[in-house]
């Protein structure tokens, strides 16, 4: 076991997989950094520190630093995937999904289906997402809801360094297109990471905290908040199951429903706005399939129906928090 930051776990996984399989190709903006400058390649080593040293080890044919052209990058990932390579493309800020949406939504996600099941596109698109660092409206969004709704894509949201390593390994080895969402505010998060290679299957949630009174469902950064809330509530004798989804597509429906059948109460935490999102998806799943077990209406703790604001106080008010989650738990318990 080693204690690693989440970003280090990602880097370690990329090294390991590129070593194991020569078909793995990495591409993105500034993933090497310094190309065409006096400082030379690796002057930056990737702005997030998740690709440092790859270029030096594997060379420019497999570690491709690109100009700022998301459509071309992601389209190229699609083309690489169709022709026998295993591309791992990076979108520096998930918000730039807007720039390359077509290549994900209309191309990569649909190749296999449109072509009658005769093609495979084992591409991974890593996107760095989420609010909490005052990066404001166009650099802080969480597009997992939109992406989960697209048939043909798998969507992964690790919440710990250990999960990041196992899930990214699975993503790279998976034959379908995978969107891998890394929360920028979790990059410095430390955790125990097992040595050696291992995979974590998709659609297999993790129980981050256990209790019999309320079920809290969360993904990504929200798992940390939910767990903190659960720990505080435990001191008041309230037991919470915190379900870390790990992947929103495919979804571990069973873990959610089994827990709600036990507790009868549901709180879903999601850092995106409330309409047509992950939270509404899970609430509707539970109300449809576990209605008879519910003792109170399900609660959602989401951001408001606004863009992400800039000022510290505003962003804090925008994001869910352990306090807001605890309040929601109390509301489910106060249902008369």
């Amino acid at each position: 076991m080693a204690e690693l930051m989440l970003r280090e776990a990602i880097l370690q996984t990329l090294f390991a997989e590129m070593e194991r399989d020569e078909n793995v190709v990495v591409l993105g903006e500034d993933i090497v950094g310094g190309m065409g400058t006096e400082g030379g390649p690796e002057a930056i080593g990737g702005i997030w520190g998740t690709s440092t040293g790859l270029y030096d080890k594997f060379g420019g044919d497999r570690v491709i630093d690109t100009p700022i052209s998301e459509s071309a990058i992601i389209g190229a990932a699609g083309g690489l995937g169709l022709t026998g390579k295993r591309p791992v493309a990076e979108i520096m800020f998930a918000d730039f999904l807007g720039v390359c949406m077509d290549q994900i939504w209309n191309q990569m996600a649909k190749f296999r289906y449109m072509f009658g099941g005769k093609t495979e596109c084992p591409a991974v698109v890593r996107m760095i997402y989420g609010a909490g660092l005052n990066a404001a409206a166009q650099h802080s969004q969480a597009p997992h809801g939109i992406l989960t709704s697209m048939p043909g894509l798998k969507v992964v949201m690790p919440s710990t360094p250990a999960d990041a390593k196992g899930l990214l390994t699975t993503a790279i080895r998976d034959q379908d297109p995978v969107i891998f969402l890394e929360h920028k505010a979790l990059y410095a998060e430390k955790g125990e990471v097992p040595e050696g290679e291992y995979t974590i299957p998709f659609g297999h949630a993790r129980l981050a905290h256990a209790g019999e009174d309320v079920t809290i469902v969360a993904a990504g950064l929200m798992v940390k908040f939910a767990t903190k809330a659960a720990q505080g509530l435990a001191e008041q004798g309230i037991g919470c199951d915190v379900i870390d989804l790990r992947t929103t597509s495919p979804l571990d429906e069973e873990a959610i429903l089994d827990s709600v059948e036990n507790t009868g109460r549901l709180v879903v935490v999601d850092e995106s706005p409330p309409r047509c999102g992950l939270a509404t998806d899970i609430v509707s799943l539970v109300t449809n399939k576990a209605y008879a077990s519910l003792k109170a209406p399900p609660e959602m703790v989401t951001s408001p129906h606004t863009p992400v604001p800039f000022a510290r106080e505003l962003e804090k008010a925008y994001l869910p928090s352990p306090g807001k989650i605890a309040d929601a738990v109390q509301r489910t318990l106060a249902w008369k």
Partner: protein, 323 residues
């Protein structure tokens, strides 16, 4: 330029197949039996065949919404294509793609694309893969004068130059992007110069003359296979039908189509050239005409009678493995 008689006959066969395939579809679509949108390639055959005769199955192409011609030229099964356009279970995409998404990856055909400009980025990826395979293979992106204005096309061209990827950007300028003329829509003097300004070598050629296309493409393909970087070609060509089937084509000039069919018919031009230079006999070409005609007839007959996919087929082939 050296091209054997057999190769010429093969090229003619391909061109004639495309022509008859498209002409026949034009008639069949009127019956209402074929669903959805279809975009016919008739008139541009010399480009598809002139390019693809230089490629083998390791080379990949991506097409546009007007993809039947590229598909046939790349060697895809004509019968399978007809079944697909008719939406049958045995179609080349199991009836799930249709005319706009027709593809056969085994033949190196990465699909027709319903999004204008959707192909070039994918082709750059295929070209990057080709570079890694290191055996001289390449990738061709067919675009129209419409896609030449799309941002994705520019991004792809720049990325190809910057990574020295073996990609060919083949622009078929048939003078209309949907219902708008090139004179209005393309701001620069032509398309090839755009590619040049991105830093790649560009050629211009008459797209209605197979022989000219074939000769030019020989140079282009050599350049790219030698690892000298991406290249672009602008073909001056014509389409005989509308943007889509059902297009009233009110934007055409008076007698324009009749004139095009008279003066800019690539099949006619081929035959004339072949006869003048005694490259292939008329008898042989006529025999090919008959064979192609029979093939098309048979394909249509079969497609009409073939079974459609079932409701359960909706759910398959989304993922390789889900839950």
């Amino acid at each position: 330029m050296q091209i054997s008689e057999d190769a010429l006959k093969q090229a003619y066969r391909q061109m004639k197949t495309i022509r008859m395939f498209e002409e026949r579809l034009h008639d069949e679509i009127m019956t209402g039996e074929i669903a959805g949108f279809t975009h016919l390639y008739a008139g541009q055959e010399a480009v598809a065949v002139g390019v693809c005769e230089h490629l083998d199955y390791n080379d990949t192409i991506a097409s546009t919404h007007r993809g039947h011609g590229h598909c046939i030229a790349k060697g895809c099964d004509v019968r399978g294509m007809m079944l697909e356009i008719y939406g049958r279970a045995d179609g080349i995409c199991k009836g799930k793609g249709g005319s706009m998404h027709i593809a056969d990856i085994e033949k190196g055909m990465l699909g027709a694309n319903g999004i204008v400009g959707g192909g070039p980025p994918i082709v750059v990826g295929a070209a990057l893969a080709a570079k890694l395979y290191g055996d001289g293979r390449l990738a061709v992106a067919f675009s129209g004068d419409g896609a030449c204005n799309q941002g994705t096309t520019f991004e792809a061209m720049n990325l190809a130059v910057v990574t020295n990827a073996p990609a060919i950007f083949a622009f078929e300028n048939n003078h209309y992007s949907e219902h708008t003329g090139v004179a209005y829509a393309v701001g620069s003097k032509d398309i090839a110069s755009r590619a040049e300004s991105f830093g790649m070598k560009a050629w211009r050629v008459d797209g209605c003359d197979f022989f000219k296309v074939y000769e030019t493409m020989g140079e282009v393909v050599d350049h790219v296979r030698a690892g000298k970087g991406p290249a672009a070609v602008e073909f001056d060509t014509e389409r005989f039908f509308g943007h889509f089937e059902g297009d009233p084509q009110n934007y055409r000039g008076e007698g324009e189509i009749a004139r095009l069919r008279e003066e800019r018919d690539s099949i006619k031009i081929f035959r004339e050239h072949a006869a003048k230079n005694k490259l292939v006999s008329k008898k042989d070409l006529d025999a090919i005409d008959k064979e192609v005609s029979d093939l098309i007839d048979k394909s249509v007959e079969e497609s009409r009678a073939a079974a459609p996919p079932t409701a359960e087929d909706v759910l398959t082939d989304v993922y390789i493995d889900y839950i």
